[in-house]
Structure formats: C-alpha cells, structure tokens
C-alpha cells in the first residue's frame, strides 16, 4: 500500500476498498485479506460500535449439514414466508457459508461452552463483542481501518468500472481523502429512514445512492414496512422480552395483539388510535433474572427511568426498521455479489436480501447470515478482481451528483428539512405500513419536490457535505421505496396495500427500481441472477 501526498488531500492506493465497517464490511475485509489483498476499510463512525450489528445481538440463520434434512427443513420453512420471492439455491449457499465461517471467529470471540468445554452455540452473538472481535481479526490480517471517514462518492474509470472512492475525515475538520482500489465493496448498511431504531443513525442509505450513481439497480425496495416495538422515547428495539408482552390502551383495556406474525400490524392499528402500554409481567421469572446477562442493554432505559418493567406498565411505540429488518437494497447480479457494474460489489443490508428472505423480514436469523455470507463472497471476489485490475488514480472521475454538485444555481438547501420530509413519509403507520395507492402517490409528490430542490441547488464540500449526502441518500431511498410500493398492486409479505389486500399470483416478480430525477420501476422474473462469477 502506498500513501501519496496530493496537496491537502490524503491519497491511498489499495487492492480492495471496503466502505462500511459493520459485520458485512468486516467479513468482506476478512475474506479479501485472506485472499492476499491489501485492504482499506473506511467507516463513517467507528468500526466496532457503529451500525446495526454493534447494538444488536445477531442470531444467525443456522442449520448444520447433518442430519441432511436440517437444511432442507430450514429452507422449506423460509420458503413458506418468502411468498414466491426467495431462491432455495441462495438459501442453501447462505446456510453453508454461515455454518463454515462463523466458527473461524473463535480466536477472537469467546463462544459459550458447556461443562465439557464444548461450544454450545456459534450462531448467537452479542453485537458489541462480535464487532470488537471482527475488528481485532481484520487488524491482525493487516487491514487498514480508517474510522470517522465516511465515503461520499465513488470514483470510476472512463469505461465505468469502479476504481475507488472519496470522502472526508470527520475528526480532522472534514479534510478530504481519496482511495484508488482495484475493486470496491459497498457495505454501508441499510436505512431506517432516520428512525430511532437502535444503532441506525449512520445508516442513511449511502450505499444505495453510491451504487445507483455507478449504474447499479435497486431491488425489493417496496419491502421497507418493518417496525419494532420499543419503550416510548427510547431506542431499545430489542425484541426478546416482548415475546411475552401484553399490551393495553389508555383505559387499561387489553389490546388483542398476541405474539405472532401479525402482531406489528395490530399494535400499529392501536397506536393510530392512541397511546399503548406494555406489561412484561408474563416474562418467566428465570428470564427476568438472566435478562441483563442475555441482553445487557435492554434494562438500561428502564433502570434510568426508574421503571420496573415486570411490575409496571410502560408506554411503547414502534420504530421503523426500513431496510434494516426489511428487505430491499442494491440488486445482486451474480453469485459473488457483483452489482453488474465492474469492480463494484455489495454486502449486508446494502445488498438486497430478497434472494434469501423473500417478502418477509429476515430479522432474528437470515439478516445476519446474509451479511456474513454476502460479505465473504464480495470480499473474495473483490480481491480476485484486484489481482487482474491494478489500482491507480489515473483517469478516475468522481461520480457523486446530488448533494455535492448542483445541476442548477447553487443556493443553501437544508439537509435537516429534507431528512424531516423523509421521516414524515416513511415512518407513519398509516403511510408506510398500511399503504394505499393514493397515499403513496402523495408521498411520491412530496419527495419528488424535495429531490428536485436538492438536485438543482445543493452544493457542498468538507463537513457540510456529509449531512447533505446523507439527506440525498435518504430521499433517494425513500423515493425508490415509494415508487416500488406503488407498483406492487397487491399485498405480499410485509408489503400491505389496503386497496389491494390480497396476493396477486402474477406479481411473483422482483421490482427493479432506479433513476434519480425520474424514478423507474420494472418487473423482473425471479431466479434471474447469473450462476457465474461476474465478468469484470
């Protein structure tokens, strides 16, 4: 790796650049480094604490190869809730990769052992410890980790192949960096549309924006209607304790919302009518006692507010998960998680996991298994490409448009107002969870106007560029989601249309979205990914 001075700018040359340091990015960096590549990983926050992985407790989808029916059963079970959009072949690959790779983290993660010293469980990891382990692993593998260094845009060669990225150092006053690389892995997470979902503030859909600017497409963006319960005003969207929850309205009447697949819908319905209160009194006493050592962060808000959640009722809300426990993301075009754009790979929540999750949330298992597997495949493929395609700054041009370079006369545009507009369309239960053609069209018009203002007038650099690019990514992601939801005139999995309440067998297709000034959505038959490595 060489460091080249470039005026004020920091320039690095690497074989592989990984953008985003959650579990997908860290597994991508691991795989690329194990292939012998020089890897740089840039992270908006800190690799270890930032993102959805770190604050969660990722339980991985897990089925051993033995007995042989274990995997077949897991896949059959998933297929039942994938509603025609999952692909068994991809599910099998993910189960296999997860099963093989996760135990290799043992030198860095203290997997729990039974009395005989045998590992009890490899699949359930605690977020902070998982990310701490992954960071140690990639540092030991020689990966250069740049924290507080968000990527703002990709860099491309004249033929469109991706050859690096540019961004800023937020702890050095926003000073610019540029990195040239033989291949780039985008692992910048998904987006909660800036809800208070735990750990999701940095996840503004930057990966979607940068990939689309490079020519990649989005898939499954209509599946963003995932919501998770949390104590009102808190971020604590950890679900386990709520498996035993009872809910009540302001008059103390119990709400009919039993633990099960349509619980979220029922709670959202109740929330539209007024505040709701939760009781965890049914949580078995032994679980109550062990809760702090199962999920140490869950009790923090209660303890600080002086609430005994097992004896007192407390107010709750539902936070939007967006694509983090939803589905959509950059369309995966090949088995190595190529995007169809030479030199650009995607992993984790940045990559659409429709192939594995189908139309239902992969929360609790599929999501992290996908992040690990896609990261591993993308990292390996990026390293292999870098062997053929040398990195260098010659002829690279910057692909970033909206938020950085105005198409019209520059004037101040408020990033905060753009973000608020996205929240106002993407969070309300009566807009994004219970959808109608009319409501979606209204959201589309509102967001189109916000986009147009940003695209025409926003121009920025240095520190100011971060907030504007985040706002741009959020608005773009919301527009792709709304347009895809408008096009899916049926109800399928987590996509619920009040005006089309049943499943339409003709719509067992993927919806491919793209475009900026004009957003387009087109159907695509499933099983359309190439079984071959991307020709890059």
């Amino acid at each position: 790796m060489s460091r080249i001075g470039n005026g004020e700018e920091e320039g690095l040359v690497a074989d592989v650049l990984v953008i985003g340091g959650g579990m997908a990015g860290a597994w991508a960096a691991t795989a690329a480094a194990r292939e012998g590549a020089h890897v740089v990983l840039v992270e908006k926050g800190y690799c270890g604490t930032s993102g959805a992985t770190a604050a969660a407790g990722p339980g991985h989808w897990w089925a051993p190869p033995d007995p042989p029916e274990a995997r077949a059963n897991a896949i059959a079970q998933r297929q039942r809730i994938a509603f025609g959009l999952g692909e068994p072949h991809w599910m099998r690959r993910v189960l296999d990769e997860t099963w093989r790779l996760l135990p290799t983290l043992a030198p860095y993660y203290d997997f729990p052992k039974d009395d005989q010293g045998k590992v009890r469980n490899y699949r359930a990891l605690r977020g902070p410890e998982y990310m701490r382990a992954l960071r140690e692993q990639i540092v030991d593998l020689g990966v250069v980790v740049l924290d507080h260094s968000p990527a703002l845009e990709l860099l491309a060669h004249a033929d469109g192949a991706i050859g690096g990225a540019a961004g800023i150092r937020t702890q050095r006053g926003g000073s610019p960096w540029r990195i040239a690389a033989g291949a780039v892995v985008l692992a910048a997470g998904g987006t909660s549309f800036r809800s208070h979902l735990l750990g999701s503030r940095n996840n503004t859909g930057d990966g979607y924006l940068m990939a689309a600017e490079a020519g990649a497409e989005l898939s499954g963006m209509e599946f963003t209607a995932a919501y998770t319960v949390a104590p009102q005003h808190s971020t604590m969207t950890r679900t386990m304790s709520y498996a035993f929850a009872d809910y009540f309205d302001a008059d103390g009447r119990q709400i009919d919302a039993p633990f099960g697949p349509d619980q979220t819908e029922r709670l959202a319905q109740a929330l539209l009518a007024g505040p709701i209160y939760c009781s965890l009194a049914r949580l078995p006493e032994d679980v109550q006692r062990h809760l702090p050592t199962i999920s140490p962060n869950v009790m923090l808000p209660f303890a600080r507010w002086g609430i005994d959640p097992f004896r007192e009722r407390f107010e709750v809300t539902l936070h939007t998960d967006g694509t983090i426990r939803g589905i959509g993301g950059v369309r995966v075009r090949s088995e190595d998680c190529g995007t169809g754009v030479p030199g650009l790979y995607v992993a984790g929540d940045t990559a659409s996991r429709e192939l594995v999750a189908g139309a239902s949330s992969g929360g609790g298992n599929v999501n992290s298994a996908w992040a690990l597997s896609s990261g591993s495949w993308a990292g390996r493929a990026a390293a292999r490409r870098a062997r053929r395609v040398p990195a260098g700054f010659g002829g690279l041009s910057a692909l970033g448009r909206t938020g950085l370079r105005a198409s019209g006369r520059p004037r101040p545009v408020s990033a905060a107002e753009a973000v608020d507009a996205v929240r106002a369309e993407m969070h309300p239960y009566d807009k994004n969870l219970f959808r109608t053609g009319k409501g979606l069209a209204a959201s589309r018009r509102t967001l189109d106007a916000v986009w147009s203002d940003l695209a025409t007038h926003a121009a920025s650099n240095g520190m100011a560029a971060l907030a504007l690019r985040e706002a741009t990514a959020l608005v773009a992601s919301a527009r792709w989601s709304v347009a895809s939801a408008e096009a899916r005139t049926e109800t399928r999995g987590m996509h619920r249309r009040l005006d089309h309440p049943t499943l339409d067998p003709d719509l067992a297709v993927r919806l491919i979205a793209g475009g900026f000034d004009t957003v387009t959505v087109r159907p695509q038959a499933t099983a359309a990914t190439s079984p071959f490595e991307s020709v890059a």
Binding site: G45, Q171, H196, G199, N202, S234, F259, I294, S295, R304
Partner: protein, 114 residues
C-alpha cells in the same frame, strides 16, 4: 442521549472520542473531552461500554435531552451498569455472556402462545 461526563472520574483517555459512532465528543488539550454535539448522539450506550472509568452517562431519552443530576446518578449506582452486565474488563469472570439463551426464550414464547 449523552448527558454528562463525570470529570472527577474521567481519566481523559479520550476512548469515548474514538469509539463514539456519531462523533459527539471533542477532545481537549488537557482534561476530559467535552460533549460538543449532543444532538448527534444516537443513544446506543456504546461510549459507556468502552469507558473503563464509568465516567459517562447516557440518558434513555433519544428524542430530547433530559438533564440529570450527576450527583444523584452517581449515588444511584447506574454508572457502569452496561459494562458490568456485559462482563467487560474486571467483570469478565462475574457476568457470563448468556446471549445464547435468547433463542430458548423465543421458543418458550412460541409454545406459550400456542
């Protein structure tokens, strides 16, 4: 969101500056860092987990600052709860990581709902 740093406990190691995912803290030439961008705090409690001096307090309200009295918080014993229950550092042998029990809890809930 982050409410205060207990200056008597803080060792000015600046670890919180490094690990905060949203760059809330600003290091100082001498002494404890300052909370420079409270509004950017995402209420993830990660700074507390990494603070071996238990000198940080993140309020549970992610929407609004909820000023808390440092003396009362110190007296309540709430500081360091996350790091302790996580079994980090000196707590390693006292608080085992029981994350693996989570799936058994979900299983019991599904059975109870049947």
């Amino acid at each position: 969101m982050i409410e205060f740093i207990v200056s008597e406990r803080c060792t000015a190691c600046d670890r919180c500056v490094e690990v905060c995912p949203s760059n809330v803290f600003e290091p100082m030439e001498a002494g404890p860092p300052v909370i420079a961008r409270q509004d950017d705090c995402q209420t993830c409690f990660m700074c507390e987990l990494y603070c071996t001096a238990d000198a940080l307090y993140v309020g549970p309200n992610a929407y609004h600052a909820e000023p808390a009295d440092p003396a009362a918080v110190i007296a309540s014993g709430l500081l360091g709860q996350y790091r302790r229950d996580s079994g980090w550092d000196e707590w390693q042998d006292h608080y085992p990581n029981e994350q693996w029990l989570m799936e058994t809890v979900f299983r019991r809930a599904a059975e109870a709902a049947r």
